[in-house]
Symmetry: C2
Subunit: 373 residues, 2 copies
Amino acid sequence: MTQPVRHDAMRACNLALVLGEVHRHGALTRAALAELTGLTKSTVSTLVGSLLDARFVEETGAVRAGERGRPGVEVVLSGARMASLGLEVNVDYLAARVVDFAGVSRVSLRIERDNRGISARSVLTAVRKLASDALAQARDLDLTVAGAVLAVSGPVRDGVVLSAPNLGWRNVRADSLGVPVSVDNEANLAALGELWYGGGGSDFLYVSGEIGIGAGVVVDSALFRGTGGELGHVVVSPTGPPCRCGASGCLETYAGQEALLRAAGVPTVEALVTALTAGASAVAAAGEALGLALASAVNLLDIDRIVLGGVFGRLFPWLAPPVEAVLTARLSALRGSVPELRPSELGDSAATLGAAGRTIHRILADPARFLPR
Amino acid sequence: MTQPVRHDAMRACNLALVLGEVHRHGALTRAALAELTGLTKSTVSTLVGSLLDARFVEETGAVRAGERGRPGVEVVLSGARMASLGLEVNVDYLAARVVDFAGVSRVSLRIERDNRGISARSVLTAVRKLASDALAQARDLDLTVAGAVLAVSGPVRDGVVLSAPNLGWRNVRADSLGVPVSVDNEANLAALGELWYGGGGSDFLYVSGEIGIGAGVVVDSALFRGTGGELGHVVVSPTGPPCRCGASGCLETYAGQEALLRAAGVPTVEALVTALTAGASAVAAAGEALGLALASAVNLLDIDRIVLGGVFGRLFPWLAPPVEAVLTARLSALRGSVPELRPSELGDSAATLGAAGRTIHRILADPARFLPR
């Protein structure tokens, strides 16, 4: 009675051993696998046969000379059959991703929507719909999705989201999705994403900066579960602004996405990045061109002061350095000095003020003409 | 027959003389005016009487001890009656401004509208409407508008706009507006605005940066009319991009408002200024707060590497310096070194990748359970 059980258990263990080596090392020959696992070559061949049948692995076309002995075909993880579903509820979007067994993202769905002030039940209904779309697409790709994990920002214990202050959730459990599903903390899962698919190495603190700020710690290539992960609620200044969590002066009130965009006065992170990169370089390039044109003007007109008005007045702090650099490079040798640059403070009003001033000066020049009859 | 004419001419001249001194010096007593103009005190008193009657000047309440002799009431320019209308046609707006004789803007109207690809006639109809609104408001303020000047970007000769390439105008003359109206170059008028109402002093080159780029030169407090003012069409690079003016590589193609915003990838100058100021300082402040929270985390957890993900990953180039500065300040003495900071390259995908990876690792740990039946 116990014989088949023990045999099955041992086979299961050896399958995991072989597959684990292929995962760790990448392409391996059967001979190399036998060496790494300590199993006999014939056992390895049988196990690899099962893994090939199950399409957990596939043989690579490449054949190379073994170091000792005959050339061998290599096996690698295969993304042909097995896959997995990753889901995420964030404050401002829902996402689903099907990753195949070889680690390739095969399906990626994302819905931008504000999930605040909406019941957890209704959000989870939307997640179920998104998951079912992703599963349908996976089926079309001939993939078998073995399970799903849902990422939620907030502390999770035993599959229950204890609280997600930015979502207004308390004690929420994941719905059934047609595949086994569990819930975990977003930052912890992102740290695992970084460990498995990113470049963070085997030991790091991962900081997840979204509307909430979470953290996950990876030690020796494993998630360190000892941390709460709620970096967003670490106190930065005890007398700081009130936080959604009930405390005040939390990191989130300073560096959370909403606090950041509000302080920056831009609607989206894209706008902020664009502005910080393209904005600065665009102004620098414009300043250089302006400097060249002004250097020509100064060479022709002998001017000691240049007032930058209109748009240039408003952009003066960023525009002046490149303009000055060009003026210095092109004029200082010949003239010994460079004209003073200053911003106009009249902005858009300069032209209408000047236009109005013209008539004022006509009156000043001949007030008698404008005396009342 | 000639007596009254000569008398009138002299009186007109003296009125201008007295008014000119009040304009130049500000508040002056009649005695000071007599001294400055060389006129007798009684002549000055008569002239000031006329100017007071016409509400060109008004007496100030303040009375101070004259340097030699009795205290005197001072007169200053008055904005109570006379005023002037300044108008502007720009590529993306129309503006009207009523400035009173004391130099105070009393009415300011502005319409944002794209004036390109619209006939000059139709634009001037809109200007006439705007001007008439401004004149009506001036009347309500009991102001007498003595004349109007219209600012247009482009070379103007004898009251005719020779060409305004950004507007598509050629040989356009100003309409009648119910008050005498003349047209002048926008940059020249803005230079006069800077001279009369700004802080540029008496000698400067004024650069007007809008969609077009104009320039006006002020020498000895007067507009130097020798320049065309079309700085935007000074060549910056002979092989540069084609310009609306027919040439190529003009300054405008590099530093005009449209070129600048296109390069910066933002819709408006406001967005660019906001991004350059608020954006940078918001990210710096967020980085400082994040640094403080991470320093606490590092003190508790002994971490050597920190991966910044999500929004923080995208903002890494700007966020890392303030974070590092805080970490160095707070940790280096105790630890001797500061954790390495690096950006995650997974962006928004980290959590779903990690979530999906979890199931992949469940399969890796026990593939036998997932063998096909």
